[in-house]
């Protein structure tokens, strides 16, 4: 009985996440308040506590934050089926939108005005990647004793040509071992 009732919400869930995916500019964290409003306040699919727990897990598993949120919420509400529905719902608008732009852009790439516009945009993009480093550094709680970590990671990639995946692995394993030692000495 309960399953059929949840299944009847499939369409509404898909549309709700589609809407979230389609109307949030600026990536994952911008979606969070809207997700909370839809999932907790409007439709009561999950309690606020469940939502907060999902947030903790979504932040500490790999993948994209917004997508992880959607998969977790869907799975929590209606199993794997719910998870797939919400994941597709939140990802589809971007996929469709970008696909159309990619096809369109391919036609206008050689246009002289388009090229001029992108000559101006390219350095701006690089600045927009460099700028969040500082706010990310703040939210990662980087202090003097930990400042060497980002510097070493950056140096490994730029002059030494390490792959970022390898750097993530090293940091994760190193952090895990350090954590084991720390929790061991605590107990």
């Amino acid at each position: 009985m309960e399953t059929t009732q949840k299944d009847s919400n499939n369409k509404r869930m898909f549309l709700s996440f589609f809407k979230i995916g389609a109307f949030t500019l600026g990536g994952g964290y911008a979606m969070l308040p809207i997700m909370e409003r839809e999932v907790v306040d409007k439709y009561n699919w999950l309690s606020r506590e469940e939502f907060m727990n999902i947030m903790v897990v979504a932040q500490s598993t790999p993948g994209l934050f917004a997508i992880n949120m959607a998969s977790h919420i869907g799975t929590k509400y209606n199993g794997v089926k719910g998870g797939i529905i919400c994941t597709l719902g939140v990802a589809l608008p971007s996929i469709i939108c970008i696909l159309l732009i990619a096809m369109f852009f391919q036609l206008f790439k050689e246009n002289i005005y388009v090229q001029k516009i992108f000559l101006g945009i390219r350095p701006a993009v690089v600045a927009l990647i460099a700028a969040p480093c500082f706010s990310m550094a703040r939210s990662a709680h980087i202090t003097l004793p930990t400042a060497w970590i980002p510097i070493v990671c950056c140096l490994l990639i730029v002059p030494f040509g390490f792959s970022p995946i390898l750097v993530i692995l090293i940091a994760a394993v190193g952090g895990f071992i350090y954590g084991k030692i720390k929790s061991h000495s605590k107990s």
């Binding site: 790999p62 998870g83 970008i98 696909l99 350095p123 990647i129 700028a131 990662a140 750097v167």
Partner: protein, 190 residues
């Protein structure tokens, strides 16, 4: 076979992506530009500009666009490129989804333990380094112009970089507005 490669590369990008869209830019850049040469440095930068100005997570936008463009650049027709872009996007999603099904219950229990907390206190600063590296790698002659042979383009690019950096960091101007303004500047200057 580019489709098999796209699948493997974007699955890898999906599962090793900790720390959101900006961290993913660094992974995609390494795989798609540095290792596989599917896109040039400037094409990659254009993709990020478009991803930042359209709705949805930057990581998915980037994967879709890179999937499409890399198949086209490899000489395939448009329908194959559409398949490539869908394949790249789905590849990014599936492994984290399976992992979530496997560990979500356990992880909540362990997320407050010292071990995991410490691991993330190392991983988060590491990701800042990753993003910084991506920014440095994109300061290429292709994006900024060669200082010797294209001095005008180079100086203009440096100035635009500084304006946008300050505009975003200090004046908190919205990234999309900054991109639009730089596009207009490019149109007028060049």
């Amino acid at each position: 076979m580019i489709f098999l490669k796209l699948f493997i590369v974007f699955s890898k990008i999906g599962i090793f992506n900790f720390g959101g869209g900006y961290a993913m830019i660094s992974l995609i850049h390494n795989e798609v530009v540095v290792k596989n040469h599917w896109l040039s440095s400037s094409e990659f930068t254009d993709i990020i500009a478009i991803s930042q100005s359209t709705p949805g997570p930057i990581g998915i936008n980037c994967a879709t666009y890179a999937g499409y463009t890399s198949v086209i650049n490899d000489g395939y027709p448009q329908w194959a490129a559409v398949l490539g872009s869908i394949l790249a996007s789905v590849s990014v999603l599936w492994l984290p989804f399976l992992l979530m099904l496997a560990v979500s219950r356990v992880l909540l229990k362990y997320s407050k333990t010292t071990t995991l907390k410490t691991m993330f206190s190392v991983l988060r600063p590491a990701i800042v380094g990753l993003v910084a590296a991506a920014a440095i790698l994109l300061m290429s002659a292709e994006n900024f112009g060669n200082p010797q042979t294209e001095t005008f383009k180079f100086i203009t690019s440096i100035l635009l970089f500084i304006f946008v950096f300050i505009g975003n960091r200090i004046y908190k101007i919205h990234p999309i507005l900054l991109l639009v303004l730089s596009g207009i500047a490019g149109l007028i200057i060049y």
